[in-house]
């Protein structure tokens, strides 16, 4: 993550309508938005839509970001709200299939070309939403615990604990899926 001072400078430029600052903020924070959305909605396509919409809304309302140096926290709150709205819409639209998307399935995910991605998504359903956010932001965005704690409004110790617990559960689930696959292949 870029440092808070640089972020604040970009936010101030973006407030003046500087599109280069928009681009720099998007380059720095769009993926984090996507990962936060994915932690909540659990579907790649929905996460992409939510992240894009939330980012556009954030840039549109950037004048209301009162603490530019804490832009990440402000942005991710917008992402979270829109992701929850997305879940609500999905529940209304997609009642029969809802159970299989928000609850972990008892069966291992199917093997195939998207095997690893499907496995990871399925395994992530076995940890809490905040743990998913921490594990994704730490694992893919490579944010430090300090940065995660600041962005999610939790303590550094809690961030570490979430990561530790999430990794333990995820490893267990991924190992189960692998064993299940081996058993399936032997049949």
């Amino acid at each position: 993550m870029i440092d808070p001072e640089a972020t604040a400078a970009l936010v101030l430029r973006a407030r003046q309508g500087d599109t280069e600052a928009f681009a720099a903020l998007a380059a720095a924070f769009l993926r984090a938005s996507y990962l936060t959305a994915l932690a909540i909605v659990g579907r790649l396509s929905d996460a992409e839509d939510v992240a894009q919409d939330a980012f556009v809304v954030a840039l549109e309302r950037i004048g209301s970001c009162r603490e530019p140096e804490r832009f990440a926290r402000w942005l991710l709150q917008i992402v979270r709200n829109r992701a929850l709205n997305c879940l609500d819409r999905r529940r209304l639209r997609d009642v029969p299939r809802n159970e299989s998307t928000v609850e972990p399935a008892s069966e291992p995910p199917p093997v195939g070309s998207m095997q690893l991605r499907a496995r990871l998504l399925q395994a992530l359903l076995h940890v809490s939403e905040i743990q998913r956010e921490v594990v994704l932001l730490h694992g893919l965005e490579e944010w430090t615990h300090l940065e995660i704690a600041a962005a999610l409004g939790i303590s550094v110790g809690m961030s570490r604990q979430h990561l530790f617990n999430a990794r333990r559960v995820l490893r267990g689930r991924l190992a189960e899926y692998a064993e299940s696959e081996v058993r399936h292949a032997r049949r």
């Binding site: 309508g17 599109t19 928009f22 681009a23 998007a26 380059a27 769009l30 993926r31 996507y34 990962l35 994915l38 790649l44 996460a47 992409e48 894009q52 980012f55 556009v56 840039l59 549109e60 690893l116 991605r117 990871l120 998504l121 594990v135 994704l136 694992g139 893919l140 570490r160 604990q161 990561l163 530790f164 990794r167 333990r168 995820l170 490893r171 991924l174």
Partner: protein, 112 residues
């Protein structure tokens, strides 16, 4: 509490397809920029349009002045009674009849 054995989450990384991610990022920036393009205020629009408005006003004034000047000269001096009288006098003529004189002066007196 240490857990340094990182999980490989790269399969979930949206930026693995760099070109697609670049397009997505650009699309977000363009959408935001389009929404934030400022709507000009009425005073600023007036300032922006002042030169064309002045040019149109000047053209209209010129056209009006030309039209008035043209209409004033359109009748010509031949229509003026004094001109007619002076012509008659110069040619040592007399008007053919009283009605001819009255006709020449009527138009002059009818004017407001």
């Amino acid at each position: 509490m240490r857990d340094d054995d990182k999980l490989d989450l790269r399969a979930l990384d949206p930026s693995r397809d760099r070109e697609r991610w670049r397009q997505l990022t650009e699309s977000v920036v363009q959408r935001a920029a389009a929404r934030l393009r400022p709507v000009p205020s009425i005073p600023s629009q007036m300032v922006a349009w002042r030169m064309p408005v002045l040019a149109v006003a000047a053209a209209l004034a010129l056209m009006t002045w030309t039209a008035i000047a043209w209409s004033e000269t359109d009748a010509g001096p031949e229509a003026e009674p004094m001109y007619l009288l002076s012509q008659w006098a110069a040619r040592d003529e007399l008007p053919a009849s009283t009605p001819q004189i009255l006709e020449a002066f009527r138009g002059h007196h009818d004017r407001p």
